[in-house]
Symmetry: D2
Subunit: 109 residues, 4 copies
């Protein structure tokens, strides 16, 4: 078994998938399904109340992130790079001056 | 406006949220809702077919990742660290020997 | 316990909720969260393959429907009536002539 | 065009699908994806606040219900019948005596 000490999340994920031969199940479509399935489990931690168990939420969030990283890798992109790319778009859509302290959608600002 | 050249995704996200005073909306519950909402939009790219537009998928995936990072930051944890934490659990649950090439849930192996 | 022989789904649901004093948890927001949580569980039946177990899918679909009925009742509307209302809108947006055999969104037709 | 006056929701839905030849897209898997996609749009009405616009929520709920009906029909089952079937299971899992006024999962009661 691979020693993961010091491994990055992406390299550890790749090892886990490779060792189990799971790439065959990881079509982009199946990964997109998996992301929303895990996101639903994360939301279940808040189903009846805004109160939450931080340990459970952390692990459910990790599941969502893991499938997001798997899909990013499958698309050949870096998670941080695409977040930065999208943040630039968000900055342009929601100028700080007009969107400060407002949760409205940009087309309603 | 902050110059983001060379910024990490997390620091760029923090700046964007701070400049717009959006932290007030970012309760863990609201972020969990946002993650599943964005995950649904990602899945919409695959609604009727496994074929997809890689540029659209990349941007939708970035939206899911962005809210995941915001929730991680709100919980005071690092996205990569919690992925690594959870991968260790997954390694134990799904030994490579018994789960190789199988998509079954660990309790069905 | 209420005898449900011959009861409609809505009246049986109302009895179940009333007997357990669950209405206090059923804010529209919590029911909307519940609907997407259960929808994720339904999708899990198709996570890695389009093949499915019809008995499991039927019960997961019933869970989604049950929370949809609970939300409809909370809003004071009838499930069938709002489906009919929305179908009229869909008919106008997607004329049979231009949308026949096409899955594209109406704004792309 | 079919005159829908007095039609049931299910028969109106069947006509709409048949006239547009959409059944070819309605595999159970695609309908399950569609249900969760629409459920995400419903939740979006509550993304930042429990306050909501009843007209928008009603139409988003109708979208979820419509795909639920389409999947039920595809499985050859009646929506009300499967709700009643599942309510019986829920009654047994959550006896009124032990679950009254509690939102906990049945295995935590």
């Amino acid at each position: 078994m691979t020693d993961l000490t010091g491994a990055t999340a992406m390299s550890a994920l790749r090892s886990l998938i490779a060792e189990r031969e799971w790439a065959q199940f990881h079509s982009p479509e199946n990964l997109a399904k998996s992301i929303v399935i895990e996101a639903g489990e994360l939301l279940e931690e808040f189903q009846w109340s805004p109160d939450f168990d931080v340990d459970r939420v952390r692990l459910e969030l990790a599941d969502v992130l893991t499938y997001c990283y798997a899909l990013a890798d499958r698309l050949g992109v870096d998670p941080d790079a695409i977040i930065l790319e999208k943040l630039e778009i968000t900055r342009a859509k929601y100028p700080a001056e007009t969107s400060r302290g407002r949760s409205a959608k940009y087309d309603q600002l």
